[in-house]
Assembly symmetry: C2
Homo-oligomer: 170 residues x 2
């Protein structure tokens, strides 16, 4: 009887976990690993910004409400379940009227880390996905697409796999 209740409870928790980690669909095709494009990410608040001089891109790093709350209260190692971090990435250009300001040119991609320690317990505790271009085409060939993300993020395994330090704000 205990095993039966335990199984039911597990199933319910799995469903709840999926609801947390996979927000409402936006009509865009999901990532090959099944992750849906997070809804409304363009409206999220800023966690940080960066300029990658190696591949000449500018980035805005944003977070959903759970992530922003976690950042502002220092709960980022580990990040809480339900936190989603997003990066909006652009090629760089020089601001026409202030050439010493490097500013965005065309949009490259939006990429995401979705924290769910139980759902992704056999990996990093995060789901990983990217959509490229203005058409938001899912990135990657198959369900193992996250391996490429994880390989790059391995140097920050001890920071819960996250490069970004939330920027200092008043």
């Amino acid at each position: 009887m205990f095993r039966f209740i335990s199984s039911i409870l597990g199933f319910v928790l799995i469903l709840a976990g999926q609801a947390d980690a996979e927000p409402a669909s936006t009509g865009i095709q999901p990532s090959p690993n099944g992750i849906q494009l997070p809804h409304g990410y363009k409206d999220w608040s800023v966690l940080s910004v960066s300029h990658r001089v190696d591949n000449r891109t500018l980035r805005a790093i944003v977070g959903n409400e759970i992530a922003i709350k976690a950042a502002r209260t220092g709960q980022t190692n580990p990040w809480p379940d339900g936190a989603i971090l997003g990066k909006m990435v652009w090629k760089e250009t020089s601001e026409q009227h202030w050439p010493k300001a490097i500013a965005p040119r065309e949009f490259v991609h939006a990429e995401f880390m979705l924290k769910d320690a139980r759902k992704y317990r056999n990996g990093t505790g995060w789901g990983w996905a990217r959509w490229t271009g203005l058409e938001q085409k899912p990135y990657g060939k198959d369900a193992n697409v996250a391996q490429e993300c994880i390989a790059c993020h391995t140097p920050v395994k001890s920071r819960d796999w996250v490069f970004t330090t939330p920027a200092e704000l008043p």
Copy 2:
């Protein structure tokens, strides 16, 4: 009688204009020109980002709801009344685990342009203000503080005084 009604109407419009352009106080001292720190700017959505290599700062450019809607519908020359543009500015550093990524170090200031074509009709159509440091100290010595902002922004007078081009997004 017409003059009397006209005067009353003008007074009501002035009050309405002030309500638009000066959001709820946050307990921070106002700018010397009377502008209050816009409420909740840290939660606003991203308009763009930039890296000023001349003074080694990184910036997130954000907007209130009116500004974001204007940016997404291309209504930015002129920007509509009620639009507020904010810049959060940090000194630059290298990302510890990815040195070719330039990322924020300490917070420098938050600065704002508040559009109100009628209220600021004798100037640029914008109110200008800045608060420095984590303590958000109002910047400038007197009510003419905006002259310094305007001097710098004069090259973009034909762009409604705004350097930022809203970044391309899906």
